[in-house]
Point group: C2
Chain length 796, copies 2
């Protein structure tokens, strides 16, 4: 049990760590050589082409302007400068709403902290049960400020109960306002968006197989019959597995070609050669460059054939299609209604943005989906409650004896006392560390198996799984000692009224632990986030060994996006801690406030300068955030009930029973009131946009606009790669010209919306109007094209 | 604890009771005087005008044909004669599907019974733990046939677990087949139906108030904007409270007029007179008939004015409207999509049939609905768990001492020993009896407060509440002694694993109780159902004192409809008992089989000959039946788990854990696969019907067809009452002519569907195409019109 002093020391250490990180960040970020690591967003929007640099050679890498070192915290006011609407334009609504979660945290907890500190701490301290107890009892100073200090059966508990009511009402009020706000922000954003293919498109799954008819024919027939006035066209989805294999093969060959070309470039006196046989070990020796060029040409021919076969052949069409309508109204109607008598066929849903589609999951049949959901739910349950079992098993293997047996030559090293003790402390934790490190990936894979068809939904589902894991293993796991499995076992053998009591009792005792947790994970962790150490190291490593051109340098820096599957759940954990401890140990609240304020600054900076979102879900994650804060309220109420019932506050406890019911009713009301805005698309809205568009562009050719927006990106990439051989020169010029076109931050605003023309987008982030304006198109470059072209440029 | 012999005696008594009822029924039903009680359905369809009677005067009342008495059970084969499709034509799909529940029971339980009896009973008997125990232990013979007889830790439990799997799979298989069947029956029925107003109509609630615009204008504007190609017209809903008051007043006056006319008719020598003043006690004496005719005329004038004011005035229009579209497709689209940005405004739903609308609930605003649902959920919870508290309170008052204090003159009677003991046994139960008798009414009122807008939904919700009550108070309440409140209390203090164990242990012991319950409630109760004693008595009483004309006689017999709110929950209780005891005490199964078979016969007879459904929900209750049978499966699995864990069958019990999970997955699959067929209307279907109709009737004037179908029935009634004074003679002739038109049982089939022209429909069952074909219309008579007109006919 920590005393106040211990906490002070811990706070000092963490504050110093955080400051060290911040200082490092402040110094590193103003070095021109790191500019791409700390400001990639500006490069991707095209606002910045090269780092600000001083004149001379050293100034290219190191900042020599001394004055900038003294204003090392000036990123903070800079981060606050941008207004919310500017952030929406700059980084999308998702990022803006993500930041609003932090301000919501501040708005909720600042008044709660003030009230709790000024009312509860005097109430708790003055009763002083604990001071009557012997000094040597295991009680910390923190406990004197908490509800533990109040005498059992005291009438002071009425104050705690009253405040729980006040806090709940306050939180609900803020949540309501915020939900209302974000719902209207979402609608405004949707209304202000320009024309987008996904507004007209619906994804249709489980198209039934009718004999003698191709999938395309039956889609055409079905929608011409049932949506005669609105159906426009559809795009089939192809099974591109074989083609993808060829693409991978071509990439490998291209790498070899690049390698030999680079070799030749460095030593122009000697043309590189290689053997044609198995693994280049036997066979005739040939000129490598010519040989690989030949191979690639052959492969390109095969790929063309395969591509033709896939796109024109009927057997590779999956029973899925993207069906487009001639109006948003038609698409909204189709997405929201049941099409066929058999509700497992012709399932319609809004199509995700093209760059948001997760292609592999499109063709999962209905029965398989049901089974997958069941299996994954069971696996998540098992993972949350039994994850310690395999880890303990691995730990039992990975001890020093095991290591010595496997690698006897290490024995002399291991036997050194210093190293031995280090390893003994380190090895058992290693398995756990590795597990926790790969956990988000595992959860994402699980979500993928579950069969969601868009990246945004996948991330939300992974976040939900991570939240359950955190709730059980971090929150409950810290309160009740023992693994989650032991908890589960003990809960199963306890009565429904006993469980909140068991947890409630230990809650005040764990306050010091959670304060430390907030400082380590929240304060220092967030400071680490802004430093981007991993990205920094990777970027410089790549820069040293791989980068040959300016474009490679851009590619070397992946700005990434806000990592929702990890960030949202931990954020929700802080809400939970704050709400649970508000009444129990209010001294914890200031630490949470500092976290929210600091994290808000850091993420604001990151959103403005670093992250580049892969997709725009228009705040679709908000209902989850809302309902988890409500869940936190419910948990806090139940635990307080349990805690009070152990305090023999029998006459005051029943007053609390109404609170969870009211909270649930509030939640239900909010769900009905606001959630449809996040799940459905009102016809009023659709019609209004249709009418506006008709007035502005009466002669729009929508069919050509939609084009093959929903063609699997792999086909796009190949198409471009072919064109490229001819157009290298032309394109480079165009490219220079286009960058300036794209400097305006209003890019995602009112004009034809398309993925921001970043140069390091992954393969899925392709152009959406490829066939619409073929020339204009060249500004959006695919990864492959970029990759190939600049190697050619690199040649003399 | 009952022995096998006790059960035999009880069975004999109940079989005799049932036979006595059947005999009474057989004798009563062939008396011409009871014909209207036992065959009202045929009267309401118009197939029968007067009882079959022998020639002479006595034969008018008593059946003198001796031979018919010997074939007294011939109603059974008769009931089976009609095929299912004939039943659908005759009584609607609801009734046909209701009967299918009984056949489903038979299909499920016949194989289960055979397997259980032939496998489990030998397994249970031969292990014989109980025979080793002392004879005087409280154990019945029944227990020797049950799982209690198996030694703890026996490997025989694998057989029980295996059979639980087999039974679950069998039940799920039958449920799947049945759901599939009923879903396609429903779709076929919907497809075969003719044009109906509700196919084109959507009810829109929560129409926002916009200043300067009437509700009608804003509805028109909204739907003309957002459904420009499909919107046809709308009907406003009027606040008819004041008008309804006038209607009630007129009815009272009419009653007085009738009374005096009857008086005058019987004593033509003396015209009745009355005083005009307060309560007829003072004032001038006037001629009663003239006076009341005058009053009615005045009132009629006031009603006309009020009616004009209501229908033309804007302030009496509620923010609800029935919006009609020019195609089923348009209506299906509107019903299934979100209209407005604010999801609590412009709420659209399929309109119920006009006769199914529950008018009073139409105008409840959204917030109020949320609150009502919360309050009613809490009340239902309280009612289910705490209903004993007020009853115990009433009981404590209603004892003999209390009675003597209130009515001292009864003391001498009460003090008689025989009467005293009778009252002491009777009084405490009286409050409970009264409570149980009014319970369905209370639950229905609760559902009405919850705010559902159609009678069919109200009945389903009341049935759900009744099911919870039965589950907790009959099933659990019988297994665990003590009130539901005590159960709740003990459950709250038991762990999650302890609860199924507590219940599981007592399950085999309660088998005899449930066998008796099945015989009393199931066998004798159903035989009582066919006897219709209450209806019989009421009918004859009315006949004696009230009936003046043939039409009054028809009105005196209300055939009623299948009482879903009571019948469905008790049916589901039998499924629960059968499924729970299939593995535990299989000897209970034959009793359930007898119940299902017998109840099937009885209800088939009743549906064919007696009941006259008020509305047609097209089997909308099936998903509830399905999910409650699934719930029964889950309950049985959990209880078996609990039971086995007390039998120390530790090595076999874990095998059972997978079963509930699989059952839940099956349920989820069924829900996704079939439930949309009951909740939504596929566009494919709508479009197909639209196209067919267009081909058949290209020049249909839909607007005039829809007319004022959704006008509050009270306005219809008044309109008709006015017309009537002129048209009495005409109509009577027409009426005779129309009856023969309507004899064909295919009436509800392919032609314009409308409520069957029954003469004793309640006020809500009004004509649906009133303004469409004004002449044809007179075959559908309203209650009021009927009532008024035949009194006039009764005059000389």
């Amino acid at each position: 049990m920590a005393t106040l002093q211990d906490i002070g020391v811990s706070a000092l250490i963490n504050i110093l760590t955080a400051f060290a990180f911040l200082l490092a960040f402040a110094i590193l970020r103003i070095q021109p050589v790191n500019d791409r690591v700390y400001f990639p967003k500006w490069y991707s929007t095209g606002d910045r082409k090269s780092p600000r640099r001083s004149g001379n050679f050293v100034g290219k890498f190191v900042n020599l302007n001394i004055t900038t070192y003294f204003t090392f915290l000036n990123w903070m006011p800079q981060a606050l400068k941008m207004s919310e609407s500017e952030i929406i334009d700059h980084a999308g609504l998702d990022s803006a709403v993500f930041l609003r979660i932090y301000t919501l945290g501040l708005k909720i907890f600042i008044p709660i902290t003030i009230v709790a500190l000024f009312i509860l701490i005097p109430v708790n301290v003055s009763d002083g049960t604990l001071s009557f107890l012997k000094k040597d009892l295991v009680m910390s100073d923190i406990d004197k400020l908490s509800i533990s200090n109040v005498r059992p059966n005291s009438s002071r508990f009425f104050i705690h109960i009253g405040l729980e009511y006040v806090f709940t009402i306050w939180v609900c009020f803020m949540l309501y306002k915020e939900y209302d706000n974000i719902a209207s922000m979402r609608l405004r954003y949707l209304a202000s968006q320009g024309r987008r293919v996904d507004q007209f498109t619906v994804v249709v799954r489980n198209i039934p197989h009718s004999s003698g008819k191709s999938v395309s024919d039956s889609v055409d027939h079905f929608f011409k019959t049932n949506h005669p006035d609105h159906y426009l066209c559809h795009q089939a989805v192809y099974d591109a597995n074989r083609f993808a294999k060829l693409v991978r093969q071509r990439e490998r060959l291209q790498n070899w070609l690049d390698y030999y070309q680079l070799k030749f470039e460095r030593h122009p006196e000697k043309r590189p050669t290689c053997k044609r046989g198995f693994l280049g070990l036997c066979g005739i020796r040939v000129d490598s460059i010519e040989y690989y060029k030949q191979l690639i040409q052959n492969l390109d021919r095969r790929m063309s054939l395969e591509r033709e076969k896939v796109i024109n052949g009927h057997e590779s069409i999956l029973p899925v299609a993207f069906v487009s309508f001639n109006s948003r109204w038609g698409a909204a109607v189709c997405a929201q209604t049941q099409q066929s008598k058999n509700p497992t066929l012709w399932l319609t849903n809004w199509a995700p943005e093209p760059r948001d589609v997760y292609w592999s999951n499109l063709a999962i049949p209905f029965v398989s989906l049901t089974i997958r959901k069941l299996v994954i739910s069971l696996s998540v349950f098992a993972l949350v409650f039994f994850y310690m079992i395999p880890i303990a098993f691995v730990q039992s293997l990975a001890n020093l004896e095991g290591l010595e047996r496997v690698a006897p030559f290490l024995r002399s090293v291991i036997e050194l006392k210093f190293i031995k003790s280090f390893l003994q402390g380190f090895l058992p934790g290693l398995a756990l560390k590795i597990f926790l490190y790969i956990l988000p990936t595992v959860l994402m894979i699980m979500s993928k198996i579950e069969g969601y068809i868009s990246m945004s939904v996948l991330e939300r589902k992974a976040a939900a799984k991570y939240y359950y894991f955190m709730l059980v293993n971090v929150f409950l796991g810290s309160i009740i000692a023992g693994t989650a499995f032991e908890q589960l076992n003990s809960f199963l053998h306890q009565s429904a009224t006993e469980i909140p009591r068991t947890i409630g009792v230990s809650i005040p005792m764990k306050a010091t632990f959670f304060i430390t947790y907030i400082m380590v994970d929240g304060w220092a962790g967030i400071a680490g986030e802004i430093l981007r150490l991993k990205s920094l190291v990777i970027y410089h490593l790549k820069n040293m060994f791989l980068v040959k051109t300016e474009r490679d340098r851009e590619k070397a820096m992946d700005p990434g996006s806000v990592d929702y599957p990890e960030t949202l759940p931990s954020l929700q954990l802080y809400f939970l801690l704050g709400i649970v401890y508000a009444v129990v140990t209010p001294i914890l609240l200031p630490f949470i406030l500092v976290f929210f304020a600091f994290a808000y600054l850091v993420y604001r900076h990151q959103v403005i300068n670093v992250y580049n979102q892969q997709y725009e879900s228009v705040a679709a994650f908000w209902p989850h955030v809302h309902s988890r804060i409500i869940a936190s309220l419910l948990i806090s109420q139940l635990l307080l009930l349990g805690l009070l019932s152990t305090k023999k506050a029998a006459n005051s406890t029943p007053l609390l029973v109404a609170l969870p019911i009211l909270t649930l009713a509030f939640h239900k009301y909010c769900k009905n009131r606001f959630e449809p805005a996040f799940r459905k698309y009102p016809l009023e809205e659709a019609m209004a946009k249709d009418l506006t568009e008709q007035a502005v562009e009466p002669n729009l050719n929508l069919k050509s606009y939609l084009g093959d927006a929903y063609l699997h990106p792999i086909f796009h990439s190949f198409e471009e790669a072919e064109e490229e051989l001819v157009q290298v020169q032309v394109r480079v010029d165009k490219h220079q010209a286009h960058h300036s076109d794209h400097a305006s931050p209003s890019d995602s605003g009112s004009e034809i919306s398309s993925p921001s023309p970043s140069h390091n987008v992954p393969a899925s982030q392709y152009q959406v109007e490829h066939n619409y304006e073929h020339n204009y198109n060249y500004q959006y470059e695919s990864e492959h094209r970029t990759y190939y072209s600049y190697h050619y440029e690199g040649q003399p």
